[in-house]
Assembly symmetry: C4
Homo-oligomer: 387 residues x 4
Amino acid sequence: MDIVIGRGKAARRAYGIDEIALVPGQRTLDPSLADTTWTIGGIQREIPIIASAMDGVVDVRMAVELSKLGALGVLNLEGIQTRYEDPEPILDRITSVGKDEFVTLMQELYAEPIKPELIIQRIQEIKSGGGIAAVSATPVGAAKYGMVVAEAGADLFFVQATVVSTTFLSPESVIPLDLAQFCQEMPIPVILGNCVTYDITLDLLKAGAAGILVGIGPGAACTSRGVLGVGVPQATAVADCAAARNDYYQETGRYVPIIADGGLITGGDICKCIACGADGVMIGSPFARAKEAPGRGYHWGMATPSPVLPRGTRIRVGTTGTLEQILRGPAQLDDGTHNLLGALKTSMGTLGAQTIPEMQQVEVVIAPSLLTEGKVYQKAQQLGMGK
Amino acid sequence: MDIVIGRGKAARRAYGIDEIALVPGQRTLDPSLADTTWTIGGIQREIPIIASAMDGVVDVRMAVELSKLGALGVLNLEGIQTRYEDPEPILDRITSVGKDEFVTLMQELYAEPIKPELIIQRIQEIKSGGGIAAVSATPVGAAKYGMVVAEAGADLFFVQATVVSTTFLSPESVIPLDLAQFCQEMPIPVILGNCVTYDITLDLLKAGAAGILVGIGPGAACTSRGVLGVGVPQATAVADCAAARNDYYQETGRYVPIIADGGLITGGDICKCIACGADGVMIGSPFARAKEAPGRGYHWGMATPSPVLPRGTRIRVGTTGTLEQILRGPAQLDDGTHNLLGALKTSMGTLGAQTIPEMQQVEVVIAPSLLTEGKVYQKAQQLGMGK
Amino acid sequence: MDIVIGRGKAARRAYGIDEIALVPGQRTLDPSLADTTWTIGGIQREIPIIASAMDGVVDVRMAVELSKLGALGVLNLEGIQTRYEDPEPILDRITSVGKDEFVTLMQELYAEPIKPELIIQRIQEIKSGGGIAAVSATPVGAAKYGMVVAEAGADLFFVQATVVSTTFLSPESVIPLDLAQFCQEMPIPVILGNCVTYDITLDLLKAGAAGILVGIGPGAACTSRGVLGVGVPQATAVADCAAARNDYYQETGRYVPIIADGGLITGGDICKCIACGADGVMIGSPFARAKEAPGRGYHWGMATPSPVLPRGTRIRVGTTGTLEQILRGPAQLDDGTHNLLGALKTSMGTLGAQTIPEMQQVEVVIAPSLLTEGKVYQKAQQLGMGK
Amino acid sequence: MDIVIGRGKAARRAYGIDEIALVPGQRTLDPSLADTTWTIGGIQREIPIIASAMDGVVDVRMAVELSKLGALGVLNLEGIQTRYEDPEPILDRITSVGKDEFVTLMQELYAEPIKPELIIQRIQEIKSGGGIAAVSATPVGAAKYGMVVAEAGADLFFVQATVVSTTFLSPESVIPLDLAQFCQEMPIPVILGNCVTYDITLDLLKAGAAGILVGIGPGAACTSRGVLGVGVPQATAVADCAAARNDYYQETGRYVPIIADGGLITGGDICKCIACGADGVMIGSPFARAKEAPGRGYHWGMATPSPVLPRGTRIRVGTTGTLEQILRGPAQLDDGTHNLLGALKTSMGTLGAQTIPEMQQVEVVIAPSLLTEGKVYQKAQQLGMGK
C-alpha cells in the first residue's frame, strides 16, 4: 500500500506474468532429473497442468486422453455437454457462426436447461474410458447437482465462480451455498476458486478446499477486467495465495495445492507461475489448439452466454498439433506452445530445480517484456520488413 | 513531489484508469443487492451516469430517454441545438463531410449565433417530454444565458470549461463570471468543472457548486493534452478531488458529488472511477454509439469549432444498440460497452460493495494493462494470426 | 544515481516529454493576457520558437518569413544552401529519390564544397528581405567561416554539434575550436549546443554562450540513440540545463536562454519543455510541413550526409498549411500542429501563467502516455474499427 | 530484492539495453583517438565484436574475413559445417523451406551425425586462410571433441550452453563435463557461457575461463524466455557479471573479458553493453545480413534443431551490404547497422572515452524507449500517414 494514487487512495503495485523472468542459480541439472509430480485431492499426477472446464477445451474424449497422458481435464457441468445429448452439431454451430451473432447464439444455446441424467452419463463415460472424472460447476450448480455428481462416481469437484468467497450476501429468496458445509458433506475432494488474495485463500482452505484456483481477469478469452474493472495480475495473485497455503500448512500440516488459472499460453508462462508459488496450472487456449479439442480451432470464455452481461469472447486459436505433442512433445513449433512438460523439465534443469517445491523457490526478476522501439524493430526484421 | 525530473523540477506520479484494477475483498454479494443510487443537486437517480453535453450525444430526445431509464443527459446550450431551429440537416452535414473538411465546417457552423428563444424551447421540450432538464454552458455563456435558463424551468445547470477556476484574470474589456455569485444567484443547482486538483475542488465547493466535474485531457475526442500539454490522469485526479469533497463534507456537512468526466468507455472504466472516489461519471462516446444518438455513429469534441485553436476530433464510433441496451442491457456485446448498469452492479457484487460509498472504498492495485509481447501474441491469436 | 542497474553500475531515471503533463494551478487567465515574449542575444521576439538549421526547414525565404511572423529561423551554413548557387534542383533530387538511394545521394551531394561567397550571399539575402540573419555551423565550420559570417552582417551565430563540450581532445594535426575564445572574438552573439547536462551548460555559459541548445537524441529525424546509444530524455535534460542557467544567473546576473531542441512536434510538446525550464524551443518537422518550406513535404536529419557514419533519416511529413497557420493560426487541424503560438497562449491561460518565467514554474506530473490496451481500443474506435 | 511481487516472493528490477541510454560527460574527443582494442585468450583484436557460432552467421570464409577485418568469428562445431562435407546445398534447403516445415527440416538435418574429420578440416581451412580459428561446442561436444579441436590447431575454444554452471547434476549414465578440469587440460584458452549472474561468473573464472559469455534469453532468434520463462535483461546481466570480473581481477590479477551475447542489433546496442561493463560483444543477426554470410539473408537460432523442444526461430533479415561495410563502413544505411566500428568510435568520442575501460565508466540513464503515443505519431509521420 505504498503507492499514492491520490489523496486518500493508496495502492500497491501488482505484477503480471509478462513482467517477470526466472534467473538461473548456482547449479543446473539434466532435464531428465526434474520431477514434476504433484498431488491434488489425493490423486498424484506426473504433469501439473489441468485443462480448463470450458466448452471448447474439455469433452469426454479430452478428459480421458489428458488423464492417460499424465495430466487432468475438467468437464464443465453447466456447459453444452450437459444441456445437449449430442453436443457435436452444437459445437459446429458455435464455431461456424459469424462474429456478430456469436453472443446472441450463445445466449440462445444456453437457454436449454441442464439435464441431471447427462451429468451422470458424462461422468460415467469418462470413467469407463479410463479417465479421471474431474468436473466443475458454479456455486449454484454445485448446490443443485453436488450429490448427483458424487454418486455418479466423479473423482474431483471444482466449484468455480469469477470470484468466490465464504461470505456471500444474497437476496432472501436465495439460499447461498455454504462452501464449508459443502466441502464437508461431499464425499469427494472439492477444489474452490477463483480468488486472488491471501485472506480469501485462507478462508477457502479453512472451509476445506482440496485445491485453490487463483486468477481473476487475466485470461485471453476473459473480459472481466474490461467489463468489471476487476483483476489482479497473476504473479502477485499467485505469490499472495501461495503464502496463505504455506501459512495454513505450517499451522495445520495439510498441504493444499495452489493452481494458477488464466492467461497462460506458453511453457514459460507455466514455469513462471510455479516459480511464484503455484503447484499446478489450469490452462485453456493451449489445449483448444489440439486436434482432439472440441473447439475446432476456436476458444471461448464461459461467461459469454450470460443472458444480461456476457463477458468473454471467442478467439480463433487454430489447430497446431495433437494433444500429445502439446503436452509431451516432440514439439514441431518453437514458440513454447508444444511439449509443455518438456519445457517445464528443461526450465527446471536450467534453473537447477529438482522438484516443484524447489521450482517455487527460484529467483525471479522484474523484467517487463514491453514493446520497446528495439523490439518493434526486431519484429519488423522477423517479418522481413528490415531494410 | 518525490520524483526528480531534473535539478530544480520535481513531480509526482499520476495514475490513469488504464493503470489500475480492482481487488475483491472478504465478501461477495448478489448483484441484485447492489444499490447504485446517487443524488445530484437534490435529484435522486438510480444510475450514476450522465451523458456529456456534446452535439453528437445529447439532444432533446436523448435527454428525455436518459431520464426515463434512470440516468441523466446534459444538453449543450452553445452547440448546434441552440443555433439552429432544425438541427437535423446540420447533423447530416457534420457526419457526412470528409475528414479534411471537418474542422473548417465546424468553424463555419458555429459562426451562426446562439438564439435565446431556442434555449427556452429546448428546455421546455425536454420538460414536456417528461425529462430532467440538465443543460450546460461555458462561463461566458452562463453569464449571458443563466437567468434565461432558470426561468425556462431547467433543473440543473452545468458550467463547463476545459479548466475552471475561481480566480480568472481577464482583459479589462471583459467582466469574468464570478462563480460564487453565480451559484448563489441561480435558483437551480449549479455543477462546476472541469478541474483536477484538491485545491480547485475545494474552491469550487466553497463557491457553492452542487457537483464537481473532474477530468482534463483524458477524453477520446479530446486533444487537450496534445495541443496544450495539459492533463492529469483520471485515477489520480478523481482521488484528489474526492478527498476535497470528503474534507469539505467533514467541515460543512454538505455532501457534493464528484463526477469523473472524460475518457471512460467501458463498464470497467466506470467502476474504477467510482473506486477512486467518484460518485458518478459523465460519458460521451459510449452513448454516441446508441441508435437514438444524434451523432449518427460519430462522436466529436466540443472544442473542435474554436475559430483559432480547434481541439478535439471526430471519431467514427459506430452504432451498436439501443440506449436501453447500452445502459441497462441485455448486452449483445461482450466488451463492456453494453449494460453499463449491469456491469456496475456485477462489479459491486464481485467486490462486495452494497452502495456507492462502499464501492469508493474497495481496494485498488496498480496493474498497468500495457501492451506487452505476451498481449500482442494474444491479440494475434484473436485475429487468427497464431500459427 | 539511485537506481542499481547491476552491481557496480548505478543510474538515475530520466524523463521524456511524452512522460509528463502539466497541471492547472489556482488561477486561470484569458489567453490574450499571456505574454510569450523572450530575448535571445539581445534580440526580442514575440514567439519563443526557432526553426532548425536543416536543409528541408530553413532557406532564405523561410528565415525572412519567420522573422516577420515574430519567430526566428536559422540557416545551416554547411548544408546545400552554401554548396549550390541554385539549391532548387538539388532539393528536387533529394525529395524525389527512392528511400534506398537517399543516403548515397546525400553523401554525393555533400561532397560538393562549401563556398564562402554563398555564405555571404545568403546572409545578405536574409537581411535585405527584412529578416533576422541567424546562421549555424559546426565547430569546424565556425572556425573556418566565423569571421566571414560576422562581416557579412549576420545577427546570431549558432555553433552546433551532436554533442559540444569545452574540452575536446583532437589529433595533433587538428586545432580544435576554443569555444570561449570564439565567443569572445565574435562580434555577434554565439549560441552553443547541443548539450544535456548541468555541468556542460555551466561550462558553455562561462565560455560566453548567448544561448544554450539542449537535446541529444530525441529528434524524429535523428538516429543518434540507435547508432551511438547516446541520448537523454528531453524533460530531464531541459530541467538540468535550466538549473545551470539559474545558478549562473544568480552568480553573474547574466540571464542566458535555454532552448529545447529535438523531438518536439505539437504545441503541447513546446508547452511542456517551457514548463521544464526552457525559454524557447527549436523545432524542425512542424515547419517542414509548411507550404513555404524548402523540403517539399519531406524532412531529413543533418547528420545524414556523413560520409562514413550517416545518422538521421528522411521522413515524409506532408504539407499541411501555410507557415502563418502553423505559427499563428487560425488552425485547420485539431492535432496541435497548427497555431503553435495560440496553443502556447491557451496553455498558459489554462495554467494561469502570464509570462514565460511563470510558465517555467507550473506544476508537472509524471503521466506516461503509454500505449495501453485501452488506448489501442480508442485508436481502433477512431479508425472506425470498433464494433 | 527490494520489490515485493507478493507475500513471500521478492524480486529485483532488472534492466534491458532498450531501457538505458548513455550520457555525455565533461569532455569529447575526436573519434580517431578512440582506441577500441581488446584482448581475449591472449589474442589482441582491434574490434571488440565476435560473430556468433551460428549456422547462418559463421562458416570458414566468414571466420577468415572477420579475422582479417580486425574482429573474430566462432565456428559452431555442432552445426551443419561438421555434419555435412558440403554445407551449401543444406543451407539452400534451410533458407528455401516454408515457415511451417522449418522446425521439422532442422530436426531432420541435425539427425546427421557430427564427423570428427570435418571438425579437423574446418579448423585447418580457417588457419590456412589466414584466420583465427575460434570454435564452439556444447559441454557434451566439448567432452567429446575437445582434444580433436586442440590438436587440429584451433586458437580459442568456446563452450556454450543456454545456461552453464560448474555444478551440473546428471543421470548416473552420463558423466558431466568438469569445466575446471577441462580448462586446465585444454592447451588453448577456453571461453565459457552463457551466464547472467555474479556468482556463476565468479565460479567460471575460478574454473579457469579465458572469457565469459553473458546473456540468456535476449536474442532476436532466441525464444528461451517464451519457452522456459528464463532470462535476465542484458544491461543488468552485464553489469553484474562485470562486477565479478572486477572483483576476481582485484583478487588474482588475472583480467578476463566479459562478452555480452544476445539481442544486440545496432551500434548503439554495442556501445551500451560496453558502458555496462562488457569488454566485447557477440552478435549474430547484424552479420547474418552480410553479403558473405552463409545464411543467404536468413538468421536462425541454434536451439531450433532440438528433437524434443526446439527453441529459436528463423528470421528473414535480408542482405544489406558487405561484411566490411557492416564492420568498418562506409555506411550506406542510417539505422546503426552499418559501420559498427565507426559507431563505437563516434560514440566513444561523443562520450569522451579513449579506451574500452573508460567506456565502461560512462554515465548511464534509465530512459526507456517505450512506444508512447508521441512515438506512434512520429512513426506514422515517417510512413507518410501524417495528415
